[in-house]
């Protein structure tokens, strides 16, 4: 089996890719590595044992050691295999559930559209109308949550579809600021934006980047004290375009800074119970930015505030043929 596995190493690579883990976390690959370690250990044992014991006893020692190594290796890779499989099933489960949830949600949405159409609307009391509007809004909220979950499951499997093109980062930022302005007003947080109109064209998927920007602004506003403001800027940096947002909030505790971009991460300080949502905003932001060929990061000091930033490749020249 080990020999087959070695000759068929291309196939192993494929199997590892399909389970969605890195080479050194892939059970099939590790099994082959264990095989080589086994052979090496046996040869060494053989040399050492022959020096100190009769050939029969040396052979017995070699056999025992090799059996021992084989069993250990087998057990370890088997349990690894179970974990990898469980994780694959989990993200498949999320994806299936999200798909199945979208069908009834779309059906509800379209039937509400039908009821809300101008020619049937007139016959409703204002109370019924406002309830219908609420149902519609809540249904939209649910659809957005399910769509986000789907994106997360795609990000897990590195299956996000990007449709990149040249667009103005400032324009998208204005749109995002606008869509969040009532939330900022309600939180009594000001948003200041310094665009760089000349050097802000990037090459990426504008829809994805708008989600990134909305998530970052939403976070900054959410964790800002009332009466303060957040500052957004766009500037050129080493041939890339840099987007940055700084808040004057309480900062991210040092010991938690490493896991900020993890899925379902919530800071463990006073804000733990202040934020709703799925806790996947920054995880998605990282997947989207890195998938677009950019980088994302932050600087934070407790008590002073946090600045999140990301870079994106500057616009691509259009090649005329």
């Amino acid at each position: 089996m080990k020999k087959d596995g070695f000759l068929d190493s291309l196939n192993i690579k494929k199997r590892c890719e399909s389970s969605g883990v890195g080479l050194w976390q892939c059970p099939h690959f590790l099994f082959v590595v264990m095989g080589f370690v086994n052979i090496f250990a046996i040869l060494t044992t053989n040399v050492v044992a022959r020096r100190f014991a009769e050939p029969e006893i040396a052979a017995l020692i070699v056999l025992l050691v090799s059996a021992f190594l084989f069993i250990i290796g087998h057990t370890v890779t088997r349990s690894f295999e179970h974990i990898v499989e469980a994780s694959r099933l989990k993200s498949e489960f999320v994806s299936i559930v999200s798909h199945e949830l979208r069908s009834p949600l779309s059906a509800i949405k379209w039937n509400l559209d039908l009821v809300n159409s101008p020619d049937s609307k007139g016959s409703f009391s204002s109370e019924l109308l406002s309830s219908l509007t609420l149902i519609d809004e809540e249904n939209e909220k649910m659809l957005r949550l399910v769509n986000t979950l789907l994106e997360v499951s795609r990000a897990d499997d590195k299956r996000i579809d990007f449709s990149p093109k040249n667009f103005s980062l400032s324009e998208i930022s204005f749109k995002a600021v606008k869509s969040l302005s009532s939330f900022a007003k309600a939180s009594n947080v000001g948003i200041a934006f310094t665009p760089d109109k000349d050097l802000d064209t990037v090459f990426a998927d504008p829809k994805k980047i708008q989600v990134v920007i909305e998530n970052l602004i939403d976070n900054a506003v959410r964790y800002s004290p009332g009466g303060s403001s957040v500052d957004i800027s766009v500037s050129a940096k080493n041939g890339d375009v840099l987007w940055r947002i700084a808040d004057h909030g309480s900062g991210i505790p040092k010991e938690e800074q490493a896991s900020v971009f993890d899925k379902f991460f919530r800071a463990n300080n006073v804000f733990r119970y202040r934020s709703g949502g799925l806790g996947v905003g920054l995880y998605l932001a990282k997947s989207f930015v890195e998938g677009s060929g950019g980088r994302i990061g932050f600087e934070s000091s407790e008590g002073k505030g946090t600045a999140f930033w990301f870079t994106l490749p500057a616009k691509k020249a259009v090649i005329k043929s």
Partner: protein, 130 residues
């Protein structure tokens, strides 16, 4: 008076069919529907509609199988098809576009008005020149 344009909907979610059929009916279309691919194909052969609305996940015959049959049959080949589904991987989209569908709409991302608009637009574009 112009005859009503015939539309066949292949969709297994009855609540979706009801809303779409009702909206299309208000827009002067005659709507027929089937909840699985096999019955749907028979319905298409029988009605020879002006447009087909097709889901991908369907009992008995999937939307892909239905589309392959439509694309290979002389009498049905020219009928424009709008795919209406909740799948949206680029693999599925490209496969359908290669089979010749006119539009690929993701249910969750469109309102009823927008879907009706797309269907009417497709009908308009593919009207035979008389």
């Amino acid at each position: 008076m112009e005859t009503k344009q015939k539309i066949v909907i292949l969709e297994d979610d009855l609540a979706l069919v009801k809303s779409l059929a009702s909206a299309l009916g208000k827009n002067g279309c005659e709507v027929f529907s089937a909840v699985d691919g096999e019955t749907g194909l028979r319905l298409i052969e029988e009605k020879k509609p002006d447009l087909i609305v097709l889901d991908i996940v369907l009992p008995r015959k999937s939307g892909f199988e239905v589309m392959e049959e439509i694309a290979s049959k002389d009498g049905l080949k020219g009928i424009p098809v709008v795919v209406l589904t909740n799948l949206e991987s680029s693999h599925d989209v490209n496969r359908m576009l290669e089979l010749g569908v006119k539009a690929f709409l993701v249910k969750a991302n469109y309102s009823l008005d927008e879907v009706v608009g797309k269907i009417k637009e497709t009908l308009e574009k593919s009207k035979p020149v008389k």
